[in-house]
């Protein structure tokens, strides 16, 4: 296994009108190829900021970070990752196929190959036949699946997901969690996943990074060795509940439940 994301003493301080805000403080983290790592914590703990630093959407103010052995900016230029946002963020004037085609067009990929990849990735997220539909004709869950297909279509090494299912209802979320696991098993991508749901983190991850707020820092990293085969029912097993309890304890000790 090789390390794909490595940070040492990473700091990020935002200068705001109310003075400096320590969004991230002394983050030391290693993520290896093929892992599924979740960042969990209350809002304000810096989990999304950390993901954005990895994606080169925010610049750290101290410490070092490497992605695929190079800086985040070089990794972004090399199109090392696909990013999935909190909302599907599909362009309303493009069909589902057109939306998936967007990154491919930006990257100058030929029309034939685009068509082929759109079909392949729609199939991967179980949306075959929806390429001619416009986003508003799809449900929220389907839209988010289309946005995952868009993030995967240029075959990046990594998938960075920022609370992708946060806006969906629990039933749809369960379904998509199951599909995401299958997708991960199929594609062997490294996934970094931000969430504020304990069951979601435990169900999906190989490792869970528990973060705590003010300043945003890593409180604890918990191994989540539930194995590769994870049906939804696994969430009622003692092992699952034990890890969930561990995460909740971590959050409590990290002052996440205080005002």
């Amino acid at each position: 296994m090789s390390v794909v994301i490595e940070t040492a003493g990473l700091d990020l301080t935002f200068q705001t009108n109310d003075g400096p805000v320590h969004a991230l403080k002394d983050i030391n983290l290693q993520i290896e190829r093929g892992e599924f790592v979740s960042f969990i914590g209350p809002s304000g703990c810096g989990k999304t900021t950390l993901l954005r630093v990895i994606a080169d959407l925010e610049q750290p103010t101290g410490g070092t970070i490497s992605v695929n052995g190079v800086s985040p900016s070089q990794a972004r230029l090399a199109r090392a990752y696909g990013y999935v946002f909190q909302a599907a963020a599909l362009y309303p004037w493009r069909t589902i196929g057109g939306n998936i085609s967007l990154p491919l067009e930006v990257m100058g990929i030929s029309k034939e190959e685009r068509t082929e990849r759109i079909a392949k990735n729609l199939d991967l997220v179980n949306l075959t036949g929806f390429d001619k539909k416009f986003p508003w004709q799809l449900s929220g869950g389907m839209q988010q699946r289309a946005s995952i297909a868009r993030a995967l279509c240029f075959d990046p090494d990594m998938l960075l997901m920022d609370e992708p299912f946060g806006a969906l209802d629990e039933i749809v979320r369960d379904h998509l969690n199951e599909q995401l696991l299958k997708l991960w098993a199929k594609t062997k991508k490294t996934v970094v996943f931000v969430t504020h749901s304990i069951p979601e983190a435990v169900f999906l991850s190989t490792r869970i990074v528990v973060m705590s707020p003010r300043p945003g820092r890593i409180h604890e990293i918990i191994d989540c060795d539930l194995g590769d085969d994870r049906p939804l029912d696994i969430r009622e097993t003692p092992k699952f509940l034990e890890i969930a309890h561990q995460v909740r304890e971590g959050l409590r000790l990290g002052h996440s439940y205080e005002d």
Partner: protein
């Protein structure tokens, strides 16, 4: 309330509300015509030393040659006489004058829209231009166009440019403003998530513009163009006033006021209003077609 369908829906939901407003306007218009023209009829009667009955008075107020306020049917018959019954090439044909006004409206609208879009693109891509251009753009519209129009016409005439272009320039001067303001807003309308998404693809500024900013701005463009086309017509009419009233709806207004031809003034006014409404409707139609093709109309 139960849903209506087909013809009855059209009659009750569309025709009836519009129809009622039209009837109210016509009733008020007739009322004011009688009130405002009555004085003249009474003076006439007094001068001729005859008694005039109320019904005769009312009838007379609606058939004066130069009424203070012409009655709707007088305006309607004047419009009919000067459109349907005159050859289009005739100097007395309202269609001829409307055509003159329309051509400079159209040219000015196209120039103004292009200028507005161009300025918006510059402003969105440069903070310096945003700070330096925007105050001038706003100031330009605080200058009364009636004061500027003669100067533009005279100055351009002095350097040998006359006819369509000076009038179109006045239309452009008015119409670029809503387009520039609307497009600045439109080109800045993509949300942070969409912009971040383009950044993760490492896309160039040109790609961000063509694939994100421009399509996001299209609804704003059409809204601005609806305002722009209407004030282009106003600009064209204003531009026709200082040219010595040669041709165009503006010229009809001016000659009408020279000779006290109120009926002619009102028929030119009504034609201009109808023309503006038709232009706005055309832009709206284009907007619907484009939005449907872009998949944004539901």
């Amino acid at each position: 309330m139960q849903e209506r369908e087909g013809l009855s829906a059209f009659i009750f939901d569309r025709l009836l509300p519009v129809g009622i407003v039209v009837i109210v306007i016509l009733v008020l218009w007739y009322g004011f015509a009688v009130l405002m023209n009555a004085q003249f009829e009474q003076d006439q009667a007094a001068r001729a030393n005859v008694e005039i009955s109320t019904s005769q008075l009312v009838a007379n107020t609606m058939s004066q040659e130069r009424p203070v306020l012409p009655a709707p049917h007088q305006v309607a018959s004047e419009i009919w006489k000067t459109t349907a019954l005159k050859k289009i090439t005739s100097k007395r044909s309202l269609v001829y004058h409307a055509g003159i006004t329309l051509s400079s409206t159209f040219l000015g609208f196209v120039m103004g829209t292009a200028l507005g879009i161009g300025l918006a693109v510059l402003i969105v891509h440069s903070n310096v231009l945003d700070r330096s251009l925007m105050p001038w753009i706003i100031t330009s519209q605080t200058v009364p166009i009636l004061a500027v129009a003669p100067m533009i016409i005279v100055v351009l005439n002095a350097i040998g440019i006359s006819g369509l272009l000076p009038k179109a320039l006045i239309s452009a001067y008015l119409s670029f403003f809503p387009v520039a303001v609307g497009m600045v807003k439109g080109l800045r309308s993509p949300d942070v998530m969409h912009l971040d998404l383009m950044r993760t693809y490492n896309s160039s500024k040109a790609q961000v513009f063509w694939k994100l900013r421009w399509p996001s701005a299209v609804p704003f463009l059409f809204t601005s163009m609806k305002v722009a086309v209407a004030i282009s017509l106003v600009g064209a009419i204003v531009g026709e006033l200082p040219t010595g009233a040669v041709a165009g709806l503006g010229a009809r207004l001016l000659t009408g006021s020279y000779y006290g031809q109120t009926i002619q003034i009102w028929s030119a006014l009504i034609s201009a209003a109808v023309l503006a409404a038709v232009l706005v409707m055309l832009v709206d139609l284009a907007s619907r077609i484009v939005m449907r093709r872009m998949g944004m109309a539901r």
